[in-house]
Symmetry: C2
Amino acid sequence: MFNLEQALLYARENQAEFISSLKQFLKIPSLSRDEGDPQAIQQAATWLKQKLSDTGFEKAQIFETAMHPMVFAENLSAGPEALTVLIYGHYDVQSPKPLEDWQTPPFDPTIKGENLYARGASDNKGEVILSISAIESILQAGTLPINVKVLFEGEEEIGSRNMRDFLKTHKDMLDCDFCLNLDGGMAEKDHPGIIYGLRGAVTLILKITGAEKDLHSGLYGGLVLNPIHVLARLISKLQDEQGRIQLPGFYDSVRPVTAKEKELIAQSPKNEAYYLREIGTESLWGDPSIAPLERCTAMPTLDVALFQSGQVKMAIPSTAKAFITMRIVPDQDPDAIYEQLLKFIAENIPDPLTWEIVDHNKGPAVLVNYDTPYVELMSSALEAVWGRPPVFARIGGGIPIVAMLSTELGVDSIITGITLPDDNLHGPNEKIHLPTWEKGLEAVIRFFHSLSAV
Amino acid sequence: MFNLEQALLYARENQAEFISSLKQFLKIPSLSRDEGDPQAIQQAATWLKQKLSDTGFEKAQIFETAMHPMVFAENLSAGPEALTVLIYGHYDVQSPKPLEDWQTPPFDPTIKGENLYARGASDNKGEVILSISAIESILQAGTLPINVKVLFEGEEEIGSRNMRDFLKTHKDMLDCDFCLNLDGGMAEKDHPGIIYGLRGAVTLILKITGAEKDLHSGLYGGLVLNPIHVLARLISKLQDEQGRIQLPGFYDSVRPVTAKEKELIAQSPKNEAYYLREIGTESLWGDPSIAPLERCTAMPTLDVALFQSGQVKMAIPSTAKAFITMRIVPDQDPDAIYEQLLKFIAENIPDPLTWEIVDHNKGPAVLVNYDTPYVELMSSALEAVWGRPPVFARIGGGIPIVAMLSTELGVDSIITGITLPDDNLHGPNEKIHLPTWEKGLEAVIRFFHSLSAV
């Protein structure tokens, strides 16, 4: 067991060192998409493995997958009778584009005021370093009260496509009582949150091809079906003007929110005023009969995230490409939706155009059980630090491993985090709020301390 | 006067030198759009001015405009009683993007077989050098039978936006009996053509802006109107599925083709089989009750040439951009159509999205009088070289100066050219067919020789 005060003191006194370590980590441009440098992904994995070894983990190791490696380590010093937690995080990051919107270079971590700016600062390298720093602080003040396993992946931002296989083939190694997932976020500044529901996703990159090459519109305009027009019409038909998705029976399997959830939503600080402020807009879009928080967490949505075709020249482009993304909810079936989407595409691309799916990804939504002693203890730890109980909520994003752990290992996740709404996840000038990071570190240490009582 | 055989001999013997000069010219990446290097435009103008001076023109000079310079020169040695021709061409080129589709670098002119590959080879640097080479050949074999003025501009590919002002302010300098415009093309390989009609254009770059920054679709999906969706819907509404443009009364002022034109179209080698072959497709698109050649030359068309927004990441993009291009026909009014288009855009972009027109351009279609002695002589010259009379036709592209010369100076143009249908104007691997270039040179020399009889 460890001394709580001593661990918290160590954490406070070593804050600068922890942040210096985080900055090192943030300098590695570990993009998981094609456009990234594969060496950077390897470098980030290697860096993490070394970091874990230095922090008192045993067997820190890298597992190759079909794509980007997993980093795993464990400290089982609490013994076979003790509980085991699996700490999850990811070391891959989203693209920093468009670069011109960044005020400081995305991979040159920069502290301004209370914030540290860099791609990955809050999603999710900040939390990875937080969890390692918590273990380091605890080990400096005694021993771990429970066994700890850590799993950091490099494919979260591309849908954790090799995670399910990895879970299946390493069941014993990953065996645990619950998962601690710090890839969630705060309800608002100074108000912690625990997440019990996540949306799933169905995404695909569609490429439509017309003529073999771009054609001069003066010579051929009027004779050739323009892939931009076809793709624009397809996108328009996929939703009505209110954003309702037009696939047949799409909403049939949407599980309605419960009365208790309606209440949580009504009490949430994430009301209309909150969203207007966060988005910086004068009006929200979407069905006004459904609360904004419900719309973006418990209802499915569709966003075309990329449409790319052509040049600024008088030509009919040969190809057009779109990244079509859907966020789905319980109990929608991602496989069935993906198939419907393919059918819809096939029906809406006339000859002689051809099409292909360049890439795709899908995963279900999930609702985790939050009536567990672990969640109770985390709730208390958060309240001890912030002085108020956490908000329980669903979020609109997805963390693919949560559903996979549930179905493959029967393990529930505690999902919380320290990301603030203005931290610009996936956007330019991503940042982490350092005082909140420090509070999060304290909360995780307190949580571990309280686990000794379970 | 000059000796025809001597001039033709000189032209044949100096072919290699002419092409070497063309290659020098093609090495200058004189893109007229923003993405180009402004120095390259200046360099091309300066190179041309020097070339004209070297070829026996007087007063070769550069006129600055609000954007890219005009190059003008003249040889008035035929005297004030003689006819005067204005030779027109342009030294600016289209963007070479996408670069990866080029088999040889676009600005490293490369001869393979009978073709010379480079951006601008056929549009329009090849013809500029052809006209200069014709004058050089004539001057080596005597004197010019008529006065010659040349005007080469640097903005044809962006709609000749400063040409009208230039014509207005230099009326005396540009005074002439007719214009020789080699920016047309061949009906097919081994079959010359004379163009009597050109489509006009109305184009604009529309930029739609939503939130200040890209937003994580997990956090905000369902609350924010996505600029891609709005732009896709706008584009879909602008045309029906058959491509008919939906602006009110859009077709009312389209001048029907005459019975004589119907006959020309029916006789043209540009029939359905021709277009299927040239485009490399199994079926044409558009109203089957109208002949393909009529559809793409005498009917207005709309092509969105660029749609650009977002990244391959789960985000709602902040902005979306489209280059909307229309080809219009006699007697449509470009100003009225542009205003209608703006109105349509305003009506189809809901709050709180905003929009702006980043750039625009417009010019009318034109039908030139081809019942003139000059056209007759050009027809004979073409027939003398190719052994068959030229095809008279409208084309679907536009050459803005043709209409401007007609309205501002009352001057008709002879529009012909040596570009083959597979020369990939505006596309990758643009080329010029060198044996055809040589024939064109002979035809222009013959044409000048015949002018002495007028």
